[in-house]
Amino acid sequence: AQTVTQSQPEMSVQEAETVTLSCTYDTSESDYYLFWYKQPPSRQMILVIRQEAYKQQNATENRFSVNFQKAAKSFSLKISDSQLGDAAMYFCAYRSPQGGFQKLVFGTGTRLLVSP
């Protein structure tokens, strides 16, 4: 079974600075998807960024980018120019591409604190 590990329970960053959230995963599959989801306090979970394992190029979405190291099974999220609105729980998630069992396997999350 696939597992996802987020070793940083909490991270802090100042506005305008850069922060990196770590994620490692374990799988025997060669093709899969990886996601970072953001969950603000008492608000719904929204997708931040997605990476397909077959793509070597790291995904980027505005201030958010990933460092995908397939051999190391590492998938970190970099947030540049941090804003107060970035404060939230961030979850790393894994999904197999095949078949109908497309459930997401989540890590335990990293709480990001952003200070002025």
Partner: protein, 114 residues
């Protein structure tokens, strides 16, 4: 487009009582998921529907939890009887179909069992 809707947003019950949650996925989304998110943990899949059929319910505690999606649209998740350890946020998510990549989540129902 409207997002995934869930109700109620909050529910407080005593142990051994029953409770039901409702989810309305994004229009046209064939696949629907229920996740349980216990405080301090990531969401864990309880059950997955494809249209009105169950695809995966291996993690659903079937002695107390049940779910249905009768017409392949709305879904309800029921707990009867509730236990203290059922206190969690119950998230509903939907996806267009098997070839789609991204799940869209509802705001969740926060359940507290006293």
């Amino acid at each position: 487009e409207a997002g995934v809707a869930q109700s109620p947003r909050y529910k407080i019950i005593e142990k051994r009582q029953s409770v039901a949650f409702w989810c309305n996925p994004i229009s046209g989304h064939a696949t629907l998921y229920w996740y349980q998110q216990i405080l301090g943990q990531g969401p864990k899949l309880l059950i997955q529907f494809q249209n009105n059929g169950v695809v995966d319910d291996s993690q659903l505690p079937k002695d107390r939890f049940s779910a249905e999606r009768l017409k392949g649209v709305d879904s309800t998740l029921k707990i009867q009887p509730a236990k203290l350890e059922d206190s969690a946020v119950y998230l509903c998510a939907s996806i267009l179909g098997p070839g789609s990549k991204t799940q869209y989540f509802g705001p969740g129902t926060r359940l507290l069992v006293l």
